[in-house]
Amino acid sequence: MTSDRKIKANRANAKVSTGPKTDRGRARSAKNAFRHGLSLPIESDQALCEEVQSLARQIAGPHAGVHIQLLARRVAEAQVDLRRIRYARQQFLSGALAKNPYHYEPRAVTRLKMRILKHILKPELADIPIPAFVMNFVTAAPEGPTRFATVLSKETKQLLALERYERRALSRRKLAVRALDEARQRYYDDCIN
């Protein structure tokens, strides 16, 4: 059980540290939980809303009725969502590939390199040149396909999360397109009859 003394100390400490105080700090900490923003609805972004409107108009065509316009908007919303998910994934992959090559090195290898460096950088060994094969190992980093494969392997979780967002958006768009197609079909049938 926590002692009274500890509780008092915790409360006193909490009073001293109450989070960011400046506007800049508060703005920054407000984004602490922000990862990619894909869970935010499209309506929360004015630019995306305009994109949806413009795309919906193109999908519905010039003289569409209210019902078709509504269905076209659903297609457009899913499409714009899909677009932002794909863009996020592309940015994520490009960013990961542009990172320092050592960033994705297996931890065991990094630890071994650190141990070697600690040994060869001792002052008493300063006059002895470092053998090339040791230097090659210490400075080697995954390159080419190995690097890409390492990035994928380390970022699988994030990529699969983006994949889930994309699957949901695709499913929404598929259903919206089907509803729109059916409505148009009914309209054509009515015209024929």
Binding site: V75, L97, P129, F133, L152, S153, L159, E166, D181
Partner: protein, 266 residues
């Protein structure tokens, strides 16, 4: 007419997002893929174009993962081959490389004033196993914390690497030599690749998974295009009918103009 609709579709591509090209990928190849898909599918409306953009993006991704898997296997195979050659190469084959390596080291570390070709002569004598030369070289190497084995290893590595590069370029001498060496050792390039890949199976599995996901997405888009075809063909039929009607109208100008005005605007 179809060419127009295809180029219109390509120009509207930006509506569906930027091309999914990563650094180092061939943008022209992606454009070609888009062009070919457009020409094959012949989109008739914007929704068709959306599905086509999906097909193009997913197909590009499938190709990306396949390429990556192939280059990973290839890189591992060549590394394994290099390792095999390092173990199997006879001294006579990498002697020249050993001499080169040793000459460079001696030139950098012999006392000043000694003739430059002295380093080369000493390296050659050492390579011929001349006891005096070997002693002298060992003394120099000990002074810089190196051993003869390190230099031999470097020479061997360089030769192995050179042979692998020639093998990649399918130079007949190198191919013949390596095949002979593999046969003598009772192994094949496939065995070496399989052994080397054993450690990388997790990578391959992940790449395969991503490729399967992209393939699934591409197939779903193709399925949707297929599903819409009856509707699209109905629309196409109507369009054709409209064109035919307007042609009839044009042949009878006076009446046609009146008819055009009377037609509903949608």
């Amino acid at each position: 007419m179809m060419e127009n609709s295809t180029s219109k579709a390509i120009s509207r591509w930006s509506l569906f997002g930027p091309p999914p090209i990563l650094e180092g990928e061939d943008a022209a190849a992606y454009d070609e893929l888009v062009g070919r898909i457009c020409a094959a599918v012949k989109p008739v409306d914007i929704i068709d174009e959306m599905f086509m953009a999906d097909v193009a993006a997913s197909e590009w991704e499938v190709l990306r993962w396949r390429r990556l898997k192939l280059s990973l296997i290839r890189a591992r195979a060549l590394k394994a081959l290099e390792g095999f050659l390092r173990d199997e190469l006879d001294y006579d084959l990498y002697r020249e490389h050993f001499v080169d390596e040793l000459t460079t080291i001696l030139q950098d570390n012999l006392a000043e004033g000694q003739a430059e070709d002295f380093a080369q002569t000493l390296a050659h004598e050492c390579a011929r196993n001349d006891p005096n030369a070997v002693d002298k070289v060992n003394q120099v190497l000990a002074g810089i914390g190196l051993q003869m084995n390190h230099i031999l290893q470097r020479g061997k590595t360089r030769k192995a690497n050179e042979l692998v590069q020639q093998y990649v370029r399918r130079e007949s001498d190198a191919v013949e030599f390596i095949d002979e060496l593999l046969t003598t050792a009772g192994v094949s390039i496939e065995t070496l690749t399989a052994e080397a890949l054993a450690k990388d199976l997790a990578y391959i599995e992940r790449i395969d998974r991503l490729a399967t996901i992209a393939e699934g997405r591409r197939n779903a888009s193709l399925h949707e295009i297929d599903r819409r075809r009856p509707i699209l063909s109905e629309k196409l039929r109507r369009s054709v009918q409209e064109i035919e009607d307007s042609e009839v109208i044009e042949t009878t100008p006076a009446k046609g103009e009146a008819l055009l005005d009377e037609r509903p605007q949608d």
